[in-house]
């Protein structure tokens, strides 16, 4: 039993890294624009689909198609913000929710229309390879996904902390009016931030396709997970998204063995409730 538990913790931790990257995208979009992106899971689905199709049609390894996912999802996020959300940014919040909900329906149903409801998966030469650490066995693709996810999260952190663009993004999130007054064109920063958030989730999609099945309706559970994470970690907090991602990953996978795999989200929701009881604004919320 203990080794089973350790095993669950380890594989949950690995998935948690990817959750962290996915939720970082969501928390960035929320933190900068206060926009609730209900299409986040569908963007994950698109990241998976891009790598799936490039693998299936052109034989390109999913890890090599990560840049393509990042680029295409950046463009998608950029244009969604620029043309759908920017015009209603100052309208009431339920308007934005309707827009991002609409986008999520359009994306899922376009996928259904284009390649049907079948479950699709990628099998690579390394799909079934494993790593042993003592008693614990880890799937190689999950380890790779975890490492890449941490790497991308770190890159995003550097971008936000060290570059002019990153500082302008943080300034716009902190105080939009002051950002305007120092000469930041906040209306240009918003689409870029949305694009970066979408790129994070796109990369996450590519990272999991070697071990996670693609269907057009794979999105909503991811949206749920991402929201659980950022509420737990503190809305808008980057470290909250990463730590929250790891916690939720572990909670889900431990929940799956202690309860049953269909009840795994019960564990993460319980964790969320417990955290909010003691820290109503989340772990890193301000």
């Amino acid at each position: 039993m203990t080794s089973l538990l350790l095993q669950a913790i380890a594989s949950g931790f690995l998935m948690g890294g990817v959750y962290g990257l996915m939720a970082t995208g969501l928390t960035l979009i929320f933190g900068v624009m206060k926009v609730v992106n209900l299409a986040h899971g569908e963007m994950m689905m698109l990241g998976m689909a891009i790598s799936y199709w490039l693998f299936t049609l052109a034989g390109i390894d999913p890890y090599l198609s990560i840049p393509v996912s990042i680029f295409l999802l950046f463009l998608l996020g950029f244009f969604i913000q620029r043309f759908l959300i920017n015009p209603i940014l100052h309208a009431s919040e339920h308007m934005q929710i309707l827009v991002t909900l609409g986008v999520s329906l359009i994306l899922a149903n376009s996928a259904l229309l284009l390649w049907g409801p079948n479950i699709r998966s990628v099998t690579t030469s390394y799909s079934l390879e494993t790593l042993w650490i003592g008693e614990i066995v880890l799937d190689l693709p999950r380890v790779v996904a975890f490492l890449f996810a941490l790497f991308f999260t770190f890159l995003l952190y550097l971008l936000l902390k060290k570059t002019e663009l990153g500082k302008a993004i943080r300034a716009s999130a902190d105080n939009p009016e002051a950002a305007l007054l120092v000469g930041i064109e906040v209306n240009r920063i918003y689409p870029i931030s949305f694009g970066i958030g979408a790129a994070c989730v796109g990369a996450s999609g590519s990272l999991i396709i070697p071990f996670y099945d693609l269907t057009p309706h794979v999105g909503p559970p991811f949206t749920m997970v991402a929201f659980t994470i950022i509420i737990l970690g503190g809305m808008g907090s980057l470290s909250g998204a990463l730590i929250g991602g790891l916690l939720v990953g572990v909670a889900e996978s431990v929940g799956a063995i202690l309860l049953s795999s269909s009840l795994k989200s019960v564990a993460s929701t319980t964790l969320l409730v417990l955290v909010l009881l003691f820290k109503p604004r989340g772990l890193f919320g301000k």
Binding site: E164, K167, E177, A178, G183
Partner: protein, 234 residues
């Protein structure tokens, strides 16, 4: 340097500024005083491009600016230090200052300007890695002014810099404003603290219900009975 001719400014359908005209010459300190809600902040926001007048003209160094964006206006040489400071409270002191020099012209000279700002406010250098939101009120106002100066403005708009500061700190603040002016920056100052403000000003305007009702030199306005009636409650 700045000429405003007959601007009308609205929030939606609500007119807040009525036919405002004023003029600021290079090197001056000009004050705008008036009761709460008179439209002082609205006037500054219109100059810095956060709001646009429905009619009337604004010219800065001879160029029309009424249709420019805030970024273009900063680039042209006007820096607006807003009411309530509006710092980037989750960023460090240094990051706030760096962002002050965001526009291309100022960015090229960021290092030299930063050294100058640190000479003017040594406390900011000591605190440069501190999160701006954790500074004391006086330090926050120093940082707000420092951030404004980082844009290398020819004209500095200051909205109630003394708000919420202890009397001793207020005195320092006005000394700093005079010093910034001595180094060649023209200043448009909005204040409730009219003794101090008019005391350091070359000229002033009194704004009442969105209209300019009086103008004159600082000393004239201070003596003016209307000012005393309206704002000192005498």
């Amino acid at each position: 340097m700045l000429e405003i001719e007959g601007i009308q400014v609205y929030y939606g359908d609500l007119q807040v500024l009525w036919d405002i005209s004023l003029k600021i010459d290079s090197g001056e300190i000009v004050s705008i005083v008036g009761a709460n809600g008179a439209g002082k902040t609205t006037l500054l926001k219109t100059i810095s491009g956060l709001l646009h007048p429905r009619s009337g003209r604004l010219r800065f160094l001879g160029e029309p600016i009424e249709n420019k964006s805030p970024a273009q206006i900063v680039e042209a040489g006007i820096s607006h230090i807003p009411e309530g400071r509006k710092l980037f409270t989750t960023l460090t002191v240094l990051e706030n200052l760096e962002l002050g020099a965001y526009v291309p012209k100022a960015r090229q000279k960021r290092k030299e300007t930063l050294a100058r700002v640190f000479r003017l406010f040594p406390i900011l250098e000591e605190r440069k890695y501190q999160i701006a939101g954790t500074l004391s009120g006086g330090e926050q106002q120093m940082l707000a002014i420092g951030r404004g100066l980082m844009a290398l403005p020819r004209l500095l708009l200051l909205d109630e810099p003394s708000l919420g500061l202890a009397p001793q700190v207020v005195k320092n603040m006005f000394e700093v404003i005079k010093e910034v002016n001595r180094f060649g920056t023209t200043i448009l100052l909005v204040e409730q603290n009219i003794f101090h403000a008019l005391g350091i000003s070359t000229r002033g305007y009194v704004l009442q219900n969105g209209r300019i009702v009086l103008e004159g030199t600082g000393a004239e306005l201070l003596q003016n009975i209307h000012v005393q009636k309206a704002y000192l409650g005498l």
